[in-house]
């Protein structure tokens, strides 16, 4: 039996918008889990991802704030130029630490902190992207007993990031975007 899922983390880079447009709008209005998302965005301008997705989604979508308590049924985007981390007391924090793999926010930083906080209760998803971010983080999630999912590189806009994640974490489930969307709708009931 799969351990019950308490939270979802998602990392995406090049091609992120289209990929997330398949996954996030399919979440039902009564979806009870928090979703934390890192998308690589330019550091020097405000991000409108949260607004864009709020208009398309039935769950709440916001940009994460420092020290805010986590609400279920909410998708949180990391703000530009800050890492997003999950604390073990189940609140969010931001950090200004050095970029990791030239990325701030970094997928690895989010995934590793969430793995510490949720252990087997975490499901982590690496989507399309053109670098290696997320691979180490996904491995940390799997090692903590969580569920690792990677977008099938064949269907990805940029395949490097899913390929790196699969190489680092061979136990990950490799799924298409539609399969990931279906999986998440059931995640809560698992």
């Amino acid at each position: 039996m799969r351990p019950s899922t308490e939270a979802i983390v998602i990392g995406a880079s090049a091609g992120a918008f289209d990929a997330l447009s398949v996954i996030l709008p399919s979440l039902p209005p009564d979806f009870g889990l928090p979703v934390f998302i890192v998308v690589h965005v330019p550091p020097d301008k405000p991000s409108i991802l949260a607004e864009l997705f709020q208009a398309k989604c039935r769950v709440k979508v916001r940009q994460a704030e420092d020290k805010e308590p986590i609400d279920g049924g909410t998708a949180y985007f990391a703000p530009p130029d800050y890492h997003l981390l999950v604390e073990t007391d189940r609140s969010l924090s931001l950090s200004n630490d050095e970029p990791v793999l030239w990325s701030r926010p970094s997928i690895d930083v989010l995934f590793e902190s969430a793995a510490d906080a949720y252990g087997p209760g975490l499901t982590a998803i690496v989507l399309t992207g053109a670098n290696q971010d997320g691979a180490k983080g996904l491995k940390a999630v799997a090692e903590a007993g969580g569920t690792a999912i990677v977008q099938n590189p064949k269907g990805a806009y940029a395949s490097a990031m899913p390929e790196a994640a699969i190489a680092e974490c061979p136990s990950a489930h490799v799924l298409s975007l539609n399969e990931i969307a279906d999986y998440l709708q059931d995640a809560e009931k698992a």
Binding site: E65, D66, K67, P79, Y82, H83, L85, V86, E87, T88, D89, S93, L94, S95, N96, D97, E98, V109, E112, S113, D116, A117, G119
Partner: protein
């Protein structure tokens, strides 16, 4: 879930660091602190936090490197140019009305923010009447701040930021370049006092007209954030200004009532007259 051994070790290490050397990281935000501690453990070559703790307790020479892992922030000159533009356009006109000024750059790290302020104040004709206090808990960082030497490949970004902040001079007026380094002019340090000061354990030390402390409070938990904000409140003159980082706020603090928004979107606050 029973507490993991690593969590116990981490707590003991922080307790040891505090009891032995009086550096208190016990109320830092845990997730990023854990990353930094792991980095320290790996790069210093220890198998566990306990092994690192053993060495740290018995060898004071370990303290400096350890603090560097735990505290050093790489900043930029004129980081978030819109913040400095707001200081220039909305705070400086108030500051002009004082015959002498005190400005505190709290958590100045290696000095980028400090030099940004000194240059801005020089451009606005306020430098000579201002005393700048630059404080940090990390001695290595303070020495770097005092030296004012940065890698030349960062200067392009600093220059661009300075221009966007409404800079009235050329950044190249303030440094000389050699051997891949940019060395900032020592005249910029004439009005500066560098000092070791902790927002966690130390007290008020002067009456300030402006305090800038950006991207320090996000590393603190609620307890420490509140302490630091209380310290800033007590250190500010009436109607003094406080600038925080773009993702920091006073919203959850018990001290919020002492302040009004000065430039809301830039997190610049003003202490009430009473």
């Amino acid at each position: 879930m029973p507490e993991r051994t690593e969590d116990i070790e981490m707590r003991l290490l922080l307790e040891g660091l505090y009891q032995r050397y009086h550096y208190d990281f016990r109320h830092y935000a845990q997730a990023s602190l854990r990353r930094r501690l792991k980095q320290a453990r790996e790069q210093m070559g220890f198998r566990s936090f306990s092994a690192l703790q053993d060495s740290l307790l018995h060898d004071p020479g370990m303290l400096g490197p350890m603090l560097s892992y735990l505290t050093v922030q790489v900043s930029e000159m004129f980081r978030d140019p819109s913040y400095f533009r707001a200081v220039r356009e909305q705070v400086v006109p108030h500051l002009r009305t004082y015959p002498s000024l005190k400005v505190w750059i709290a958590g100045c790290s290696s000095g980028e923010e400090l030099y940004s302020f000194v240059i801005l104040f020089r451009e606005e004709g306020l430098e000579q009447r201002t005393l700048f206090y630059a404080t940090d808990i990390n001695q290595d960082a303070l020495r770097k701040a005092e030296a004012g030497i940065y890698d030349l490949d960062r200067i392009q970004l600093f220059t661009e930021n300075h221009r966007k902040s409404g800079g009235k001079s050329s950044l190249s007026d303030y440094y000389s370049a050699a051997y891949g380094k940019a060395s900032f002019d020592k005249s910029l340090r004439k009005q500066v006092v560098f000092s070791d000061h902790s927002l966690v354990t130390d007290a008020v030390f002067a009456e300030m007209h402006m305090i800038s402390c950006r991207n320090v409070l996000i590393y603190f938990d609620h307890v420490l954030q509140d302490r630091a904000l209380g310290l800033f409140k007590d250190s500010l003159a009436r109607k003094g200004f406080l600038g925080l980082g773009s993702k920091e706020s006073m919203r959850f603090s018990g001290h919020a009532a002492w302040f009004t928004d000065c430039v809301r979107e830039e997190k610049i606050y003003q202490k009430r007259a009473e």
